[in-house]
């Protein structure tokens, strides 16, 4: 290959590699979380106003990702047509990395609202953990911090502490767990099965996690676990008659992260390293 051709190939490969498929996957992840919450809102309330929908936005994201993949394929075709061997230009499969893309910069969460807002949160946590008692009014101020605290309590198999951490953080920070658990869940599931998890890995991931979740959240419906793990393994979600309650989904996600930390021989402090690894991968992708 001449040096000119090589330089051209390099520049074109770089264009293909730098297409923002990871950011689009991040955006899709956020919209999926929002969609889950809105599905529950629609099911849990009855008003005459039209229910907010993110279906159209999600479709545009799908089409954008498809168009970028098509562009990458066309560029590969071009390089082959000008004489580069197929193996030199085959695009690496980075779809699994895209799915791991961590969230963009976090917005500061709103301060806790009045006690009326906290009641449903504390009541839901009493129900999920099967415990009651003191309800602290202070706790983690951000969702990543809450995830770390929950992981610590869950790995210590301390159900009471888990409940207190969650109640103390309040609903605004707590509901944000659903956004910060998706990427670590997929990353840790990949560590467990030694490759990016697929639909066929779901039973193994489930076997490794469910026995760790059940003692901490005795009242959680298994369909919540199945839905979150299916998402992590890119498997079809289970059929559900009613949308999963957003509190159940957020809390179970945090406990599943802890379960996978335990199943892969890590402790809670290593969660920070996992998050760093995810950020590093994002940085490498540019």
């Amino acid at each position: 290959m001449s040096s000119l051709l090589h330089a051209l190939a390099y520049r074109i490969l770089q264009v293909g590699e730098e297409l923002p498929i990871g950011q689009v996957a991040s955006a899709a992840d956020r919209l999926r979380s929002a969609h889950g919450l809105l599905a529950w809102v629609t099911q849990a309330s009855a008003t005459a106003a039209p229910a907010p929908s993110l279906a159209a936005a999600g479709e545009h994201l799908d089409h954008a990702a498809g168009a970028m993949l098509a562009a990458r394929e066309a560029l590969t075709g071009y390089l082959q047509s000008i004489g580069l061997p197929r193996e030199a230009v085959a695009p690496p499969d980075r779809a699994w990395q895209a799915a791991l893309a961590p969230a963009g910069p976090r917005r500061p969460r709103r301060e806790l609202e009045p006690p009326a807002l906290g009641n449903f949160w504390a009541e839901a946590l009493d129900r999920l953990t099967g415990q009651s008692g003191h309800r602290p009014d202070k706790g983690a101020r951000t969702s990543p911090e809450l995830l770390h605290r929950c992981a610590r309590a869950a790995l210590a198999e301390d159900r009471g502490k888990l409940r207190r951490e969650l109640i103390g953080a309040g609903p605004a920070v707590g509901l944000g767990l659903s956004a910060v658990t998706a990427a670590p869940l997929r990353h840790l599931a990949a560590e467990l099965v030694s490759h990016p998890p697929r639909a066929e890995d779901l039973p193994e991931v489930r076997r490794a996690t469910l026995p760790r979740v059940r003692p901490l959240l005795p009242a959680v419906d298994e369909v919540v676990v199945d839905e979150l793990l299916a998402r992590a393994c890119h498997a079809p979600p289970p059929d559900v008659e009613v949308p999963v309650h957003p509190v159940d989904s957020a809390v179970t996600g945090a406990v599943l992260v802890a379960a996978l930390l335990g199943a892969t021989g890590r402790d809670a402090d290593e969660l920070a390293r996992v998050v760093e690894e995810l950020a590093e991968k994002e940085k490498e992708r540019g």
């Binding site: 730098e18 979380s33 919450l37 545009h60 098509a70 066309a74 910069p105």
Partner: protein
Amino acid sequence: MASVAEVKAAIDAAMAHVQEGQEAVRAANEKLGEAQVSLAAAVEGSGHESVTSAQAALAQATTELEDCLTATLGAMEQAQQYAAAL
């Protein structure tokens, strides 16, 4: 039936996710614009069919991302109306 406060909290949390999604879409669109400029510079003057296809696909991706942003703004407005009607 869930309480109004509970439903409003869920709507607020959903909208926070949507805003983060919008930030990711804007960042993606910016990178996409840079990729289009880089590609145009690299293949300047080429009329190769594959290059034209790639450029058309990138233009399509830009349009889709812009339409996605518009759709999320519409959904946020709907959510505000929905919360007000509770």
